[in-house]
C-alpha cells in the first residue's frame, strides 16, 4: 500500500492556568509564564521540597467533585458545570479522562467531522497518560487496606477511573467511534508517542482519522514522586522557576494538562475542504540503548535525528525541544541539536519554560504549541534563559565526548528569550522519557 499523508485538523485540551485553547494561545505568545505557587503543595510544608506548578483546578475546567458519603474525601463523580459531558460519562471518568473528553469534543468540532465520520470503523482513539496514581486510587485503597472497609464502599468505578488506558476508553465511549481504542505509554514522551502512533495508523492505511494525545491530571500523587527525587526546580519565583538552558536552572517544574488533536488522512481532509492546521512530515522514535533509566543520551538523540531526517531535506525553521530545565538534560539536548543542524538557520523553542513539564501530556501539549507557532508565524521563547553557561559543561571535557566543543553560550542566537515573528514552514518536536525513550516528529505548513 502506498504511504499516505496525514493532516492535523483539530485540537483542544486542558492547559495550565488557562480555561481554553484561545487563552493558552494568547498567554503563550505574550511571553507569559503559566506557573504558579501551588496551594496543594504548600499545605504539606517542609514535607514537599518544590511548591510551584503549572496546575489546573477543577473549578478552572468548570468541574466540581461530588464527595462520596461512604469514603471520606472520595470523589464519587464529577459535575460538569458547563454541560459538555453527560453524567453517565462523568461517572466513569477521573479528572484527566474528563479533560480528554472535553479536548476530544473541541478537536472534533474544529475538525468539522460529521457524526457518521466520528462513529466510523475508520476512526480511532489513541490517548495515554504518564502517572500511575491518582486521588481515586489512593482513597479507594486507603479505605480498604488501612481502614479495613468493604470493597463496595469504594463504589463500582475504581477500575474504569484508574485503568491505564482510561482516557482513551472514556473518549471512545463518549464519541462512539468503531475503530481502534488504545493507549501508548512512554513516560514523558507519552503525549508525542500517542500522536506518533496515531500518525502511523493513518499513514499505513489502518485508520482514516484519529483523536489522539496525552494527559496528565492535576495530581499530588504524581508530583511527590518527582519531588522526592529532588529533580524539581527550587528557589525561584513561580514564573522564573522553569528556565530552560539558563545557567542557574536546577530542575523542572511539575505541571499538568491535556493535549488532544484530531488527525486525518490528508487527501480526505483536503477533499472535504477541512482547515488543515499542519501536515505531519514524519515521526521517529528509538531508545538510548545504554542501560541508563534517567540520564539523557547524546548518541541516542543523534540516532533519533538521523532516523527522523533520513535522506530527506527536512531542515526545520524551529526546533521545539523537550527542554525541561534540568542541568544535564538541557545541555545534552542543545548540543545534540547543534551537532545535527549547525549553528544557525533555525531557532529553538522551549514551551516548558512557560508552563512547566506536563509529564505524560507534555509531548501533546507542546505539539499543540508547535502548531500554534505555525499558525501564528511566531517562535515561542525559551523564557528565563537569561545567561547560558560560558564555560564548557563537565562532560564536554571528557575524552569520550564526540559532540560540539563550544560552551552553550556560543549558541545564544539560537535561543530566544522572547517570542518573535519569522517565517516558519517546518518545526521539529522532540520529547524524551525515563527508560531512555526518545520521540521526534516533523510538521509543516500546508502548501
Amino acid at each position: 500500500m502506498a504511504e499516505r499523508k496525514v493532516a492535523v485538523v483539530g485540537m483542544g485540551g486542558a492547559f495550565p492556568n488557562c480555561s481554553n485553547l484561545d487563552e493558552f494561545n494568547r498567554k503563550l505568545f505574550s511571553n507569559q509564564s503559566l506557573i504558579r505557587n501551588w496551594p496543594e503543595a504548600e499545605k504539606h510544608g517542609k514535607n514537599i521540597r518544590s511548591k510551584v506548578s503549572g496546575y489546573i483546578t477543577e473549578d478552572e475546567m468548570g468541574l466540581e467533585a461530588v464527595p462520596s458519603s461512604l469514603v471520606e474525601n472520595y470523589p464519587e463523580t464529577y459535575i460538569d458545570k458547563l454541560d459538555r459531558i453527560p453524567a453517565a460519562n462523568l461517572a466513569t471518568a477521573d479528572v484527566g479522562s474528563i479533560w480528554a473528553m472535553i479536548g476530544a469534543l473541541d478537536s472534533i468540532k474544529m475538525a468539522g467531522w460529521t457524526e457518521d465520520e466520528v462513529r466510523s470503523e475508520n476512526t480511532g482513539v489513541v490517548i495515554g497518560s504518564g502517572g500511575a496514581g491518582n486521588e481515586i486510587l489512593r482513597k479507594a485503597w486507603y479505605s480498604f487496606f488501612e481502614l479495613g472497609k468493604k470493597t463496595r464502599l469504594g463504589g463500582s468505578h475504581t477500575v474504569d477511573r484508574t485503568m491505564v488506558y482510561r482516557e482513551a476508553a472514556n473518549v471512545a465511549c463518549l464519541i462512539k467511534n468503531r475503530g481502534v481504542c488504545e493507549a501508548i505509554g512512554s513516560a514523558c514522551a507519552t503525549g508525542l508517542g500517542n500522536i506518533g502512533y496515531a500518525y502511523r495508523l493513518i499513514r499505513f492505511g489502518i485508520q482514516d482519522r484519529i483523536i489522539c494525545g496525552g494527559v496528565e491530571p492535576t495530581s499530588l500523587e504524581s508530583f511527590i514522586g518527582f519531588d522526592g527525587m529532588q529533580v524539581l526546580s527550587r528557589g525561584f519565583s513561580p514564573e522564573e522557576s522553569s528556565r530552560t538552558f539558563d545557567a542557574s536552572r536546577n530542575g523542572f517544574v511539575c505541571s499538568f494538562g491535556a493535549g488532544i488533536v484530531a488527525l486525518e488522512e490528508y487527501e480526505q481532509a483536503k477533499a472535504r475542504g477541512a482547515n488543515i492546521l499542519a501536515v505531519i512530515d514524519d515521526y521517529f522514535n528509538n531508545s538510548d540503548g545504554d542501560g541508563d533509566m534517567f540520564y539523557p543520551s547524546f548518541a541516542g538523540q543523534q540516532r533519533l535525528w538521523r532516523g527522523l531526517l533520513k535522506d530527506k531535506n527536512l531542515k526545520p525553521d524551529v526546533v521545539k525541544v523537550h527542554g525541561t530545565s534540568t542541568p544535564a538534560g538541557d545541555a545534552i539536548e542543545l548540543l545534540s541539536v547543534v551537532d545535527i543542524l549547525g549553528e544557525s538557520g533555525y531557532h529553538i523553542s522551549a514551551p516548558k519554560s512557560q508552563f512547566g513539564h506536563t509529564l505524560g501530556a507534555a509531548g501533546a501539549v507542546e505539539f499543540i504549541a508547535a502548531v500554534l507557532m505555525l499558525q501564528n508565524q511566531k517562535v515561542l521563547p525559551c523564557l528565563n534563559s537569561v545567561e547560558l553557561n560560558p564555560e564548557l559543561e563537565t562532560f564536554q571535557t571528557s575524552a569520550q565526548w564526540q559532540g560540539p566543543k563550544k560552551p552553550l553560550a556560543a549558541f545564544r542566537d539560537l535561543v530566544p528569550q522572547q517570542s518573535f515573528e519569522k517565517e516558519i514552514n517546518r518545526i521539529v518536536c522532540l520529547n524524551y522519557g525515563f527508560g531512555g525513550t526518545n520521540s521526534s516528529i516533523s510538521i509543516s505548513r500546508d502548501n
Binding site: 461512604l70 464519587e76 459535575i79 453524567a87 462523568l90 461517572a91 463496595r152 464502599l153 463500582s156
Partner: protein, 86 residues
C-alpha cells in the same frame, strides 16, 4: 421502620445518582424497576446498595446482594429482612 419510610430513604439515595433523571423519582412504587424504569446503569446498583447500608445502618450479606433483584420492592425486602435479623 415502615416500608414507606424505607422507600422514602431509597428515593433520597437515588437523588444522589446523577445518571438518573430526577423527574422519574416523583412516582416511585414498590414495582418500579431501577434499571428498566429509572434507566439506572447496572454498575450503579452496587453503589446504591452500599449507600443503603449506610443510610439504614445495616450490613448486607454478599449472597443477598448477589441475589438482589432490580425492583424497589427487592431493596425494601432486603433492608427490612436484614434489619429483622439484627
Amino acid at each position: 421502620m415502615s416500608r414507606e419510610e424505607v422507600i422514602a430513604g431509597l428515593v433520597d439515595i437515588l437523588k444522589t445518582v446523577r445518571q438518573i433523571n430526577p423527574e422519574k423519582l416523583n412516582n416511585i412504587s414498590e414495582q418500579t424497576d431501577f434499571i428498566t424504569d429509572l434507566g439506572t446503569p447496572s454498575t450503579e446498583m452496587i453503589n446504591i446498595a452500599a449507600k443503603a447500608e449506610q443510610k439504614f445502618d445495616v450490613e448486607f450479606d454478599d449472597d443477598d446482594i448477589d441475589d438482589l433483584g432490580s425492583k424497589v420492592k427487592d431493596f425494601v425486602d432486603l433492608i427490612l429482612n436484614t434489619k429483622a435479623k439484627g
